[in-house]
Amino acid sequence: MRLEHWWFTAPLRLKSIFRRRRVERELDEELQFHLENKIEEGITAGLTPEEARCRALRAMGGLDQRREEIRDTRRIHWLTDFVDDVRYAVRSLRRAPGLTAVVVITIALGIGMTATPFSMLDALVFRPYPVPHPGRVVTLVSTSHDKSVDNFSYREYLDISDNTKSYDGVIANAALQGVGFAAEPGATPRVRGGILVSGNYFDALGVVPQLGRGFREDEDTVPGRDAVVVLSPDCWKREFAGDPSVVGRTIRLNGMDFTVIGVAPDSFTGMYIFSRPDFYIPLAMARTFSSNPRKDLLLDRDDRELVVRARLKPGATLELASNELALLAKNFEREYPKLNRDRGAAVRTQFQMRTRDDDVNWKFGLIFTILALAVLLVACTNVAGLLLSRASTRTREIAVRLAIGAGRFRLVRLLLTESLVLALLGGLVGIGIGYAGIELLRQFTIPTELPVKIPFRMDTRVLAASFALSVLSAFFCGLVPALQSTRTDLVSGLKSADGDAPGRKRLWGRNALVVAQLSMSLMLLAVAFLMFRGFQNSLLGGIGFPKERLLMARFDPRLVQYDAAQTEHFYKLLVERVREAPGVQGATLMQNPPLGLDAFDSVAFVPDGFVMPLNREHFTSTMDIVDERYFETLQIPILRGRGFRPSDTAEAPRVTVVNERFAKHYWPGADAVGKRIRLDGAAGPPVEIVGVVQNVVYKDSVSKPEDFVYLPLAQRPAGRLVLMVRTSDEPLQMVSSLKEIVRTLDPNLPMSETRTFEDLYRYAAVDGPRVAIELVGTLGAVGLLLAIAGLYGVVAYSVSRRTREIGIRMAIGARPADVLRLVMSKGLSLVGMATVIGLALGFAVERLMNSMLFNAGGIDVLVYLIVVPAMLLVTALAAYIPARKASRIVPTLALRCE
């Protein structure tokens, strides 16, 4: 019935909207037809044509009223009124092009400044997984006392998969890792990104390959049996030129033949924000990709490397799933008291995972977005101020409209439509600005060969948000002026020429706007400055060793199937030959360089003779594996004891070097050298601390310093290592001779991540922070610009309204200086108020930032010492210009002008 109704009525509504003229003409014709008939009838009855006409019109009861009644039946009033309002708005805005331009630019800046950080926040927090029904996909996490988000081991994953009922498929994947890839068996392998996934990965996620097939469930059951691989769409296009015959081909991964069985669809960019794997490989093939010969992912219950996700069954709730998993975790703890002591488990949504406490990226995104919204708020208050001053020059027009019977609501609607038109224009320009900003962010290059992408983009979600913000700001800027100007007292509005009885109330509103703007931009500037200082401080301290003239390159002999002895031999020869090369001051091997993109491994340990707290079995610390020339080559000062020596061989007593923070943390006030720790738990082998070295910046310039343990390569062999060479000249000159050395050792071995250490440093410590500072700085500068314009506007406005008053004052003897003081004091009192509020806001945000990012603590006085006087100066100037103009008013002219 409803549908049928629409079937009949929808065309009529559309006709009324789009063929309005024609509909009106037909209405006229119809009524005319009736009248003519009526008149003819009258004439036939013996009336004169005049009389007949009169009678006909009278019978109609007012033609125009009838027309309006009929128009009402069309039920498109809201729309036609709106269209009329828009037309009117466009016309009246065209009459004030200057004002329109200023307002549009102001709003555009506000919206554009918001779009950029929002695209960041969107990518980091809100963008859903690229799979069907992403909201049902949850992450299962293991929890321990020191980690709220930990992974599961393969064995645990199998148990979870078998013993839970809340899900349609539980999937697992390991971290993205470098894989040696060769399209043909003979080709030199190159490093690409691969990811190990469970056999049901694509099925459970609902991802259907665009070519070939996904994994069968049984392809994940027998270790090492099914060497099959699914390509990512990017990889397929890049490496195979999108050739559809790739399915069935054999490619080489880490020296082993794999059969390509499918290509993932273009829509599936992977489950991670930044990284996009090239290859999806069944978990059962883990041994081919293992980086640590001491661990077996498929067997060790405590080798927790898998991210476990699951798709909730229809009807299953997060709470039920959580309870189920918690129960399972309890069972694990009972069955494996050693491995799972105090280990819980939880179910997390995508949102919860992305807003984890230990991740800084989204916090930056959030801070920027909030700051940008503050700028938008400033822009809006500014526009509101402008509209307000415009509205009061229109008092007369509005009073006339009210007097002839326009409803107040209708007038407010008209004025709001006007601001909507302005805001949408501004939004349109703003989206352009935002687009430029996002492109700027995307230019940022990440120094890695792995498939890492900058995920920020102007997509429909950012566009929708910008649009929504435009509409919102239209209301925000338009409502107050609209309400105020329609509250006009009719009589006085009509009587006075440009109606201005400076009611206390109206001025109060404008002053509040200016104070809000100024305090907001003071806050923004302070924050921008704080961030700048925060980053500067973190850079000023240096990273703990000279970063110049260092060349790095990564090797992974597993890619060419070296065994442990071959690997050791290769590295021995490599370092020897490099050290002999001309221009080399030193060369060293390590698992991961400081400031590198790969996370350091962590190591569990128990300090010998330490009474462990009841609730924990061991401590953990980040660690690196380094050779005996590490500290000497990087020039990291050894504070006490010694570094590693060639005599610290696999057979010698086990030793370690720790950083200063570690030493102070566990042996405050005592010398850590000579103390022992047990690695991998209380029963592990004792290791003697032989040296304490200075702290180094390990991750990035904003993270807090951390405990660090160095273990000697000889006692803890690793396959995938970074060679770092200290040269006497420009390090890049070394690249070709390094390549030659590697080629003579093994022409098949790929050398990756060949770059100077300064590149790494720039990325980790300079580029990111610089973008951040530039962003906030721009926000602050734009905010201040807007606020200055706002203040100038207010003072200039009040001067123009008080021209007559000032004229009188001067006529009765006020000197220009008196007038100057009068006008200035008004502006400055506003500035004063704004400063107090802005300072309070600034302190609040500073505390927030300190708790989230920097470790500075306390209040950075210098920031306020610079920002506050600077702001006072410019704002005083903004008030001075109109004030000076006021002081030059010629009394006779001023008095005559009205």
Binding site: T9, R13, E26, E29, F33, T73, R75
Partner: protein, 111 residues
């Protein structure tokens, strides 16, 4: 909207639908028809006729077409739609129920 004199509210729709159910008509003819059918009992002002017609049109109950009259003038002719026929049936049934109930009450003998 001005209300038709002496006309029970809502019955104008019913009358119009009924008249159009007999044959498609233009506005003028409808007004003549209304007058002649009901004599002087039902006074429908010509002014309220057109808004009522347009309302029925917008409801989708009647549809309009421009056609020639007998004396070769263009006029807007209304005719009933499928939806309108249904509406007429239900309104007529309602009216029957209502009027029989009222006449039942009115005819009660005051014993």
């Amino acid at each position: 909207m001005s209300k038709p004199n002496d006309l029970v509210q809502g019955t104008l729709d019913l009358l119009l639908l009924k008249i159009l159910a007999l044959e498609p008509q233009n506005g003028w003819a409808i007004s003549l028809r209304l007058r002649s059918l009901s004599g002087d009992v039902l006074q429908v002002s010509e002014g309220s006729l057109y808004p009522a017609l347009h309302k029925l049109e917008q409801e989708g109950w009647i549809k309009a077409e421009w056609k020639q009259t007998e004396n070769n003038r263009r006029a807007k002719f209304y005719s009933l739609t499928r939806l309108g026929r249904k509406q007429l049936e239900s309104e007529a049934a309602n009216w029957q129920r209502l009027s029989s109930a009222i006449s039942h009450v009115v005819q009660l003998s005051e014993a």
